[in-house]
């Protein structure tokens, strides 16, 4: 079973966002594996342990992302691939990233691809379904359970609170929703072993991709922070009075009830 995990390095969700000249200020910020991608890594390891095979973790990003790839290797992935595009393409969008990933994956034998359902930074959730379409394989997003039997798959997915059971076949791409599993922490031996596991760096030339055909389709004109909220009103008095006052404020002042 050849399993690929699409992984993104993101800002730690603890971080507040600051802007510096219209760019997100990354100075001193902590980075992590996108939390949804951690479920993907965990699920890939479990499938491999049950069925045999190889787990390859793939990311598109700069050298800094090696840290997150090593973490995935320490969790138990077998090998990692980082595709470096920053020398060729200035501001990649989802179109660019998915074409690059698909360009790499088309050259591999793929049984199963697992990704997070969304990255907590960009928040679009586009790349994985795009990759499935480019590879012309079926996909199921926001999954909470994956059962494999030969090339048959039964997948449980969360659709806005409803639980759908989907029947499909491999090769398949799925994206992880919270609840799929409980990701493990890397063990100390895992961390030691990870240092020796293969981490390959590729560039567009290695994939025979032409940067001119990967030009982003979207342009970000500006980034900004939401306006600071004025301090709210803490109500006072007897609890009964506070509640009556709140109901009246919501109806007459805020007009939301």
């Amino acid at each position: 079973m050849e399993i690929y995990v699409l992984l993104k390095r993101t800002f730690d969700t603890e971080e507040a966002i600051q802007l510096e000249n219209g760019q997100i200020d990354e100075d001193g910020a902590e980075f992590i594996i996108n939390p949804y991608d951690e479920y993907a890594v965990e699920e890939a390891i479990r499938v491999r342990d049950a069925q045999g095979g190889t787990v390859t973790v793939v990311t598109v990003g700069p050298e800094d992302a090696d840290k997150e790839l090593r973490t995935a290797l320490a969790m138990g992935a077998d090998q990692a691939v980082r595709i470096s595009i920053e020398d060729d393409i200035e501001e990649a969008d989802h179109f660019t990233i998915s074409e690059v990933l698909a360009g790499y994956l088309k050259e591999q034998t793929v049984d199963l691809i697992i990704a997070g359902n969304v990255a907590v930074d960009g928040g679009s959730g586009q790349v994985a379904p795009r990759v499935a379409e480019l590879l012309d394989i079926p996909y199921v997003t926001t999954i909470t359970k994956l059962e494999l039997d030969g090339t048959k798959a039964v997948v449980t997915r969360d659709a806005e609170g409803d639980t759908e059971t989907i029947k499909t076949t491999l090769p398949l791409l799925v994206t992880a929703q919270q609840g799929l599993n409980e990701p493990r922490y890397p063990s100390l031996p895992g961390i030691m072993k990870a240092k020796k596991k293969p981490l390959e760096e590729l560039e567009l030339d290695d994939l025979e991709l032409d940067e001119d055909e990967l030009a982003p389709r979207l342009e970000t004109i500006e980034r900004f922070l939401p306006p600071n909220k004025a301090a709210g009103k803490i109500l006072e008095g007897e609890l009964n009075e506070q509640v009556a006052q709140l109901a009246s404020l919501l109806r007459n002042e805020a007009k939301v009830v």
Partner: protein, 321 residues
Amino acid sequence: MTKALVLAESRDGSLRNVSFEAIAAARRVADEVIAVLIGHNVAKDADALASRGADQVLVVEDERLLHYTPDGYGQVFLELMNRTSPDVLVFGHTSLGKDLSPKIAAKLQAGLISDVTAIEGEGAEATFIRPIYSGKAFEKVKVSEGKTLFTVRPNNIDPLEAGSSQGTVESVTVELKDLRTIVADIVRKATGGVDLSEAKVIVAGGRGVKSSDGFAPLQELADVLGGAVGASRGACDADYCDYALQIGQTGKVVTPDLYIACGISGAIQHLAGMSNAKVIVAINKDPEANIFSVADYGIVGDLFDVVPLLTAEFKKMLVHG
């Protein structure tokens, strides 16, 4: 003349409000708006689309389209695209829209602006505002090449009134080839019937609700206000409720008109998911709780005292007008 194709969505037998919002958004960007309604026994909803901004409604019915699948809906949508040659494609930022729109965008080698909360300018000059870092920041985006594809976040763009358009309705047939994923079963989760991502009012509980039973008074308040119940990660991790209810940077990002946070401390990840709600009420025993920093109105007190009183107060108010 620019033309937009909008995917309308029906859920549990009725149109989702986000479909009207998507049509209104499409009108900002294109001269002519065609709504697409896909499913099984959905034709009854076409007139509503035709009167609320769509110039034309194309209805595709097939029993194999009873449940959404990316292959089924994808084939229909792409075929209708070939027949109508639109410049703009609009989807709701819903479970279905999020699942289907990237497939269409990949097919077209186009960009896709996800989760649009506002549109500035009109027609070809339009720019799109969308949250990043789950609402901790925003970005303004435009299309630099190819067709304009975007998904609209529920509750952010005002829909048009009934009577805004007198569109035509046409039933069309699309041939379906093999569908690689099949929906074998759906279990509807009881969330009071109101969908969290589209709810105008959300009553959310945190660790302060103490147990799954502790959500009962919150549900009662939500029912009175026609809202939905949500939760913080703390409450989900403690197993008081299902992860489907989780609001925050992991979980759902919501923008209701009214958000009532009960026993939620206000971790930065939770604030990211809800701080763009129009009005926020915080109810917490701890006057130092971070949630008060984003609240418009706060009551310092035990949610188990406050929430039932508030429910009773609204009952009185809503009965007597």
